[in-house]
Amino acid sequence: MKKIILAAAVFGMLTGAAFSQAPNFDDPAEFAKQRDQLTATFNGPADQPYLQYAGDSMADTASFKKEGPWTVCFSNAGVNNPWRVVGYTDMTEEVKLHPEIGTFTHVDAEGSDDKQIADIDDLLAGGNCSVLIVSPNSTAALTPAVEKACAAGLPVIVFDRGVTTDCPVTFVHPVGGYGFGIQAAEHIIANVPAGGKVLMLRILPGVDVLETRASGARNMFKEAGLEVLGEEFTDGDNAKTKSIVEDYLQRGTIDAVWMDAGATAVAAVEAFEDQGVDVPVVTGEDQQDYLQKWRDLGFKGIAPTYPTYQWRTAIIAAVNTLKGEQVPSPEWVLPQPAITQDVLDQYINEKMPPLHYAMCGCEDMPNYPQAWGGTE
């Protein structure tokens, strides 16, 4: 009896903890907003998506105007996945385009909230920063640190993941997680008959930008009458992804695989290939290995993107702020295009590494492609 009570208590604690900290990742209003933004017209030059923005609301930054040379400080959540590696390269190359930037100080939090909070403290204490760019490791934990930087009088630019304060000059980000999920789900719904079976593969639970991708898609599948076979977490591991798809294949057919990120999409495709089964609809992302696999095998793919060019935009926002120019605010929403069959070929570049994210907006930069690991 004791054991049962103990087990129940442990179970209660586990589930209780899970529920108590679950923020709202299924917000119909935000879902509808992002759905509209996907097809909206953006302001700014169409051939330079990293300069485009939605809406007309601007911030006046005249009070931050400063003579160069500037010290641009950047507190980075981490360079711990290929997407961030590409993004960080976009950023360092953008810095080279601005002679007014005297020093670019980069501190890497290596994926730790605590380290990032300490990093920001150190940057503030150093007193050299003209502007602070923050790519937060997690939303809630970094909010006080960002508020502190604002209170110190520094212009702050936040990008990628957000914080829950509007004290920064602007928050640069593409349309968002719901948008990503919507693009992949719409493609599946259009290509799979009603009642079809969808396997949802996700990296890990609990990250806002990934949770919203899944919740948006899940609702749409339900509405369209598709059956979700399961939601599995791959940890971003190719071997695990392949095993999961193989196991599902053994139990029956799969009409589509929905992925919340593309890094393991090729492993999912290979599971079908190795089993001798026709590859169904498998969604991915804009990284080269998936785009090339999609072209070579000719399955029905789509690559929603979470464009890395936002790393360029963060620098541009910082530069415009220090020049006292107007900056889209409180949010600088960038376009978030999906790569479809029609435009597939123009994003494939076999000279680039397998996990180069094609939607980098970096082809016009002087050191492309070598700086990104490509060959001439």
Binding site: V85, N238, I244, Q250, L355
Partner: protein, 328 residues
């Protein structure tokens, strides 16, 4: 009173076959999987399973050499990562490169194992720390080499070992190359551990280093050899896993602990002196079977982790209890 009437409890005990509980565990898990999913009994089902487990099985059998000698090798996962990253960087999409890349990687592995062994034997750094340092170093090297993202693909000739299936075979219809590798390397490792003088010395060193030294065992050389074997199998496991799954920057992370777990489930003693290659391979099968079974049950991920952890602790506790009762 004649001698024949003396009680003979030992004989009664011996009449029950002493079978390593890991084999029972594997059989039970596989049976449960087949009941849940009859398709597992088909060749594509169990061959896929074996293919999946090959990398871990070979790796654990190699790591067992170090465990039996009384040490730990935490660097094996990072050797796998280095193998996959390094191979993809060097291959530059040239299918002919495989023939020199794999031998080169084996050489690098041998050197790493040698360094591990030398540091442990002569600098007297505990193996846990020495190989932990090596793991961190190698992860750093792999990261520097790749710049944090894979920079190349593995050619199909390289992926042959982990990915390719030989088809149209009577009775079993298909035979993955990985399974052939498992049998070949499993046999070699079994032979080395259980049929050679080296294997006996390994057990002696792990059981009682002082006694082994007094008995004339070259303790240092034996320990160093164990680390070299472990590192070489890590390279092989890297080749097979990279072949199966493709390049990723943290492909080997976590494998060092899985290898130790597989060995312990197979009845190996963590402080050395005891361990069996076939039982360790069975331990690896059990680990993978638990994962597959829980997947089939359709439990949610958090519940699955809880159950997986409990089964692991239970299996090892049971094996230890059995051994104690048997007085071994």
């Amino acid at each position: 009173m004649s001698a024949q009437s003396l009680p003979r409890p030992a004989a009664a005990k011996r009449s029950l076959p002493k079978i390593n509980p890991v084999y029972v565990l594997v059989a039970a898990l596989i049976l449960a999987i087949i009941v849940m999913n009859p398709a597992f009994g088909e060749p594509t089902g169990y061959m896929n399973f074996l293919k999946r487990v090959t990398a871990l099985a070979i790796l654990s059998a190699g790591a067992l050499y170090v465990i039996v000698s009384g040490g730990f090798d935490l660097s094996v996962g990072s050797i796998m990562t280095l193998t996959v990253i390094g191979s993809s960087m060097l291959a530059s999409n040239d299918p002919n490169s495989t023939y020199w890349i794999i031998p080169l990687m084996l050489c690098i592995g041998a050197v790493i194992g040698l360094i591990n062994g030398l540091v442990v034997s002569y600098l007297k750094v505990p193996s846990l720390i020495a190989t932990l340092g090596m793991m961190i170093t190698l992860n750093g090297v792999a990261f520097m080499w790749s710049g944090g993202a894979p920079r190349g693909y593995l050619p199909d000739t390289f992926r042959f070992f982990g990915r390719y299936n030989i088809t149209d075979i009577p009775v079993i219809t298909l035979l993955p190359v990985a399974v052939i590798c498992l049998v070949v390397f499993g046999t070699i490792l079994w032979w080395g551990m259980h049929r050679t003088n080296f294997g006996r010395m390994l057990h002696a060193v792990g059981d009682n280093q002082q006694a082994a030294r007094l008995a004339g065992v070259p303790v240092e050389r034996v320990r160093i050899s164990a680390f070299v074997v472990s590192a070489l199998t890590a390279v092989l496991a890297g080749v097979i896993l990279g072949g199966r799954a493709g390049v990723s920057v943290d492909i080997g992370s976590g494998f060092e602990l899985q290898a130790i777990t597989a060995a312990v489930i197979g009845g190996a003693q963590l402080l050395g002196g005891r361990g069996s290659v076939p039982a360790t391979i069975a331990g690896a099968l059990a680990l993978e079977a638990i994962f597959t079974l829980l997947n089939l049950l359709g439990l949610a991920q958090p519940v699955r982790l809880v159950v997986q952890g409990l089964i692991l602790i239970g299996a090892v506790a049971f094996a230890t209890y059995q051994r104690k009762r048997a007085g071994r």
